[in-house]
Symmetry: C3
Subunit: 274 residues, 3 copies
Amino acid sequence: MDIERIINNIKDNQPLIHNITNYVTTNDVANMILAIGASPIMADEVLEVEDITSIAQGLNLNLGTINQNRFKAIKKSGLTANQYHIPVLLDPVGIGASKLRQQYVHELIDHIQFDVIRGNISEIRALYQNTSTKGVDANYIDTITPDNILEVVSYIKEIAKMFHCIIAVSSAIDIVANEDKAYVIYNGHPMMSRITGSGCMLSGLCTAFISTNKDHMLDACALAFICNGIAGEMAYDKMIERHSGNATYRNDLIDAIYLMTPQNIKERAHYEIY
Amino acid sequence: MDIERIINNIKDNQPLIHNITNYVTTNDVANMILAIGASPIMADEVLEVEDITSIAQGLNLNLGTINQNRFKAIKKSGLTANQYHIPVLLDPVGIGASKLRQQYVHELIDHIQFDVIRGNISEIRALYQNTSTKGVDANYIDTITPDNILEVVSYIKEIAKMFHCIIAVSSAIDIVANEDKAYVIYNGHPMMSRITGSGCMLSGLCTAFISTNKDHMLDACALAFICNGIAGEMAYDKMIERHSGNATYRNDLIDAIYLMTPQNIKERAHYEIY
Amino acid sequence: MDIERIINNIKDNQPLIHNITNYVTTNDVANMILAIGASPIMADEVLEVEDITSIAQGLNLNLGTINQNRFKAIKKSGLTANQYHIPVLLDPVGIGASKLRQQYVHELIDHIQFDVIRGNISEIRALYQNTSTKGVDANYIDTITPDNILEVVSYIKEIAKMFHCIIAVSSAIDIVANEDKAYVIYNGHPMMSRITGSGCMLSGLCTAFISTNKDHMLDACALAFICNGIAGEMAYDKMIERHSGNATYRNDLIDAIYLMTPQNIKERAHYEIY
């Protein structure tokens, strides 16, 4: 993985990232995308998303606080991204929480070719369980640990093969895989689950990373996870030092991405390739 | 009031709190709910709220930035919460600011049995003024002071009796009461009115407190107010120490809830029972 | 410019500012308005905006994340503001990014008399390019520098004359002008473009400034820009001192407005009048 090249491709090109995302975490997503040196635009009116997506270099689609109107915009944007060969990521937030979200996600997958689907392990499992054919029975998996890592890697590669895209899974240990190769990433901190939007911000970051690294998206997406995990660790160091709480942690997490250097990444990156 | 038991019931059970709330303060509400150890979910599409509410342990309904679609979702969620005996709180934000909000609030009250209605004194007064029968004429009251406290306590108990629920009032002095018993709470700081969302965050916090303390909701709701007031005081101490402003104060307020211990509460709680 | 008078007119009157704005930056806009001592209300349902606008002292209309429903509310609010002689500002966010936004902005301009239109230089240029008559050909201008300042001042005065309002332009150097007089403002810092919402917050701030300074709006609007620019410089000083990033910078920017004194303004204001 050529860390400098991937990062510089973002900072030098300042890609415009179109986000259609929930209204809970959208401000944090925008600031995270700015932190890495890309430029966010949010727009979710079906009458204009074709215009917006077509001038963007990446598209980040997020199912949180979904509604009927925003879904129409998401679908149209995704189709536009495919038409213009713009990298597109799906974050199937809370797919397990309602029948509507399952139906929406499957309608998207049937019509749009995603480059990355990013979610937590239970979201990715829900995605897979709702498809008709299942090669691996890993439906019981709800976290990734050193003990089940080989099994989960096979499972994720299987899902990546089925959807012809990168599957990027957040858990105690993260996995970013296509059907051939998996990054298993040990960076990160449990504190990241005590703020809202850590998953949404990571999806925004992944979209920025792949948007200007189209010929090596797996490496770029894995590096987004590594940077995010390191930022979570660095923000936790600050939290302990200052005796602060989760709201300040959120700011320190974004700040850590803003301040991160290739040197930080090289010193702290902790991952394996399977 | 058994402080340890109420707090531990939240932290041990990590209840899922469904929030249908305005788009101004929803990120802060989510982080406040996470700060106390509960888990927020935001969803406001009428087609899915039945699914979402039915898996939650508490429901927080907020009228800020209301629109026609979100109102439909609010009503359906409230009815679902009643059906499954899930504690439900109403925050009638800005009820006095438009005829539409008055109409919406009264439509909710006619169909849904709330466990708590939380607002500032003018919102609670507006709620009461718009009902047809009035036992107490306290329509002139716009703040709660040591001088009018007995009168206001009677007034709030009367409203609690009318609506068969806890009425939780934010003011210079707070009152949390059912028809029999009132907590009068002196914690808090005027700085809390210099940030957006302090009321919305408190409503989220109250919902988390009552969700896992169903057999002693009045105590739990009063304790949420006490914790929030203490957090406001502690955040103000930090603000003076660091010469910071209202944006940092918002973060310090949430942080203070994250860091709060039963010991902090015992040392600083300042309330009376009427 | 009578700095003390303009600022005191806000702090003494605590004007209520009605904002119809995008869901990305609305929390920051609200906290910025609170920072200067005014009071924000957000409401975007067409059925209630007439009620809300009519009790406000200023109206801030923002086209970010526009949708069909919010546009109806924006138009009705603007008409209401005109009817009650309430100062009204338009922020044509991303007018160049979609045909829909161009159409919406022109529909607004045709029906509503704005007091201020505030945008970055490319938004203001797009506004002008889409009108039929053009007296100045400055369509190539994409930043304001010491070299093109005289030319741009003429251009902005021309636009101000055409729309019968103040045109307030954010760029490396800012211009706030009516058809007769232009403030050229050198305060500010490039770091402000590394956070989301710096333009939206400035529009909120301008609305607060003009709302209680109706007989000297140009001075008030220019002073809002000066304060905002100084806040950006002071927040950058803190950022360097603490080695923080863009998320903390956002908070420090709002804090700096909260903490700003007339003395700060007099010491750091850097502007010329043309």
